[in-house]
C-alpha cells in the first residue's frame, strides 16, 4: 500500500468529486421514492383492505430486516438476467435504496398518524367529511408536523448509505477511488479520506438544520 501523498490528493480529488455528484443524484431520486412511497404505504395501511395491509406490511418488514447490500445484489441480478439488461445500475440502485428507506419512513409517518388525538378523527366523522378531506385537511397537516423531522433524519441516513451502491457498479466515491487506484497504482488512501470528509461536510449542516426543524416543530405542537 502507498504512502499518503499530498499531490495525489489534488490528482484524485476530481474523480472523488464526480463520485460525490453521483451520490447526490442518487440521494435525490431515492429520497423522493422514500418520502412519497413511505407516505403512500402509511396511508394505504389505514385506508386499504385488510389483506392489502397484511401483504404490504409483511413485505416492508422483510425489507427492513434484511441488508440493503443483499437486496441491491438480488434486484440487480434479477433485472439484468431476467427482466431488462438495459436498466442502469443507477436507476435500479436508486429504486432499491428508495424502497428500503420507504420501509423506515412509512413507520415514521405511521407514528405521526397514530399520534393524532382520537377526537380529531371523531370530529371529522361527525362533520361527515369526505375521505379525501379527512386526510387532506385534518390528518395530513397534523401528521406532517410530527413526522417531518423523523423522515428528514431517515433521508440523511439514506444519503450516508449511498456508497453501498458501488457493489452493483454505480460510480460513486468508493468506486472512483478504486478506479483511480487501478489506473495509477495510488490514490485509494487519499480517496477514501476525501470521501469521508465530503460526507461530513455535506451531512453535518443538513443534520443541524434537521435538528433545528425538529425543535421548531416540537414547539409548535398544540
Amino acid at each position: 500500500m502507498n504512502e499518503w501523498n499530498n499531490e495525489t490528493v489534488i490528482e484524485v480529488f476530481p474523480a472523488i468529486w464526480d463520485g460525490f455528484i453521483v451520490v447526490l443524484q442518487v440521494t435525490l431520486v431515492a429520497g423522493l421514492i422514500a418520502v412519497l412511497l413511505g407516505l403512500l404505504v402509511a396511508i394505504g395501511e389505514r385506508t386499504g383492505p385488510a389483506w392489502l395491509k397484511r401483504v404490504v406490511s409483511g413485505f416492508f418488514q422483510f425489507v427492513r430486516n434484511t441488508p440493503l447490500l443483499v437486496q441491491l445484489l438480488f434486484v440487480w441480478t434479477a433485472t439484468s438476467l431476467y427482466i431488462n439488461p438495459d436498466w442502469s445500475a443507477f436507476i435500479v440502485g436508486s429504486a432499491v435504496l428508495g424502497v428500503h428507506y420507504a420501509s423506515y419512513t412509512s413507520e415514521s409517518y405511521r407514528a405521526g398518524i397514530e399520534a393524532i388525538p382520537k377526537g380529531q378523527w371523531e370530529a371529522a366523522t361527525a362533520l361527515s367529511l369526505p375521505t379525501h378531506r379527512v386526510w387532506g385537511a385534518v390528518v395530513l397537516p397534523q401528521m406532517m408536523r410530527r413526522s417531518t423531522a423523523a423522515v428528514a433524519n431517515w433521508v440523511i441516513a439514506m444519503f450516508k448509505e449511498v456508497p453501498t451502491l458501488f457493489a452493483i457498479g454505480v460510480l460513486e466515491m468508493i468506486a472512483q477511488a478504486q478506479k483511480f487506484q487501478g489506473q495509477h497504482y495510488t490514490g485509494a488512501v487519499e480517496g477514501y479520506t476525501i470521501a469521508g470528509i465530503l460526507f461530513l461536510a455535506a451531512s453535518y449542516p443538513v443534520a443541524v438544520a434537521a435538528r433545528r426543524l425538529e425543535n421548531r416543530l416540537a414547539k409548535s405542537h398544540f
Binding site: N2, T66, P67, T77, K160, G196, F199
Partner: protein, 246 residues
C-alpha cells in the same frame, strides 16, 4: 436456476454464517461499550469531558459507515500506521464505533429521562456519584434503552453484510462466490437464501431483546405482562416510563 446445486452447497455456508454472527456479536459488544462510554461522557456536566465525546460522536455520525469501513481497512493502516492482522478486525471496529456513536445518543437520552427526584433522593442519602450511577440511574435508564438498542442491533446485523465488500467471507461474500460460478446462473437463489437467513437472524435478535426488555422492566417494578389483561385504554409510553418506577 439449479435448486439441487443450491441445496448441495448449504454446508459451505456453515463457516461464513459463523463469520456473520461473530462480526455482529463482536461489533455489538464494542458498540455497547462505546455507547455507554460516550453516552455517559456526553451526559457529563463538565465541558472538558462533554466536548471531546460530542465531537467524536458528530464526526462518526456525520460520515458514511461504508466509507468508514474502507477507511479503517485500507486507509488507516497507511495514515496512522495501525495494521490489522485480519480484515475482520477492521470491520468489527468500524461497525462497532459507528453504531456505538449512534447508540450513545440513546444512552444519553435515557439517562436524561430518569426523573430528577431520583437524583435528588440519591443525593439525600449521600450516595457517591458512582453509587448514584450504578444503583439509581442505570437500573432505571437501562430498560428504556433496550427498544432503541434492539433496532440498532438489527441495523448492525444488516450492516455486517458490508464487511464482504472489504474481503471478509461472511454469508454475503460466500453467496456471491458460489452463486457467481458458471456465469452467475445460480446467483438469485443464493441471494434469496441469505436474505431469509438474515431475516431469521433479525427475528432472533428481536425476540431476544424483547425478553431482555421484559426482564429489565420487571427489575424496576414495571410489569409488562399486566397490560395484556387490561380493561381500560393503555397508558402512554412515556407515562409508563416515568410513573411506573415511582
Amino acid at each position: 436456476m439449479d435448486f439441487q446445486a443450491v441445496i448441495d452447497s448449504l454446508p459451505r455456508y456453515a463457516e461464513p454464517l459463523l463469520v456473520t454472527i461473530t462480526v455482529t456479536v463482536a461489533s455489538a459488544a464494542l458498540a455497547l461499550l462505546v455507547a455507554f462510554a460516550l453516552g455517559l461522557m456526553t451526559s457529563s456536566k463538565h465541558l472538558a469531558v462533554r466536548t471531546p465525546a460530542r465531537v467524536f460522536v458528530e464526526f462518526i455520525r456525520g460520515s458514511s459507515v461504508v466509507v468508514q469501513l474502507f477507511w479503517f481497512a485500507f486507509a488507516m493502516p497507511v495514515i496512522l500506521g495501525i495494521q490489522f492482522d485480519y480484515l475482520i478486525l477492521a470491520g468489527i471496529i468500524a461497525l462497532g464505533l459507528n453504531y456505538g456513536a449512534y447508540s450513545s445518543e440513546v444512552v444519553r437520552g435515557a439517562i436524561a429521562a430518569v426523573p430528577k427526584g431520583q437524583l435528588e433522593a440519591s443525593l439525600a442519602v449521600n450516595f457517591t456519584p458512582f453509587q448514584r450511577l450504578r444503583l439509581v440511574v442505570l437500573p432505571q435508564a437501562w430498560p428504556e434503552m433496550i427498544p432503541s438498542l434492539s433496532s440498532f442491533a438489527i441495523m448492525l446485523l444488516k450492516a455486517s453484510a458490508l464487511v464482504s465488500l472489504i474481503g471478509v467471507f461472511d454469508i454475503t461474500g460466500i453467496a456471491r462466490i458460489i452463486g457467481g460460478a458458471n456465469g452467475g446462473a445460480n446467483q438469485l437463489p443464493h441471494l434469496a437464501l441469505i436474505l431469509v437467513v438474515y431475516f431469521v437472524l433479525a427475528w432472533l435478535i428481536w425476540t431476544g431483546m424483547r425478553a431482555l426488555e421484559r426482564k429489565a422492566k420487571r427489575g424496576v417494578g414495571i410489569n409488562t405482562r399486566l397490560p395484556k389483561t387490561r380493561a381500560v385504554a393503555p397508558p402512554e409510553e412515556g407515562a409508563n416510563a416515568a410513573g411506573g418506577v415511582l
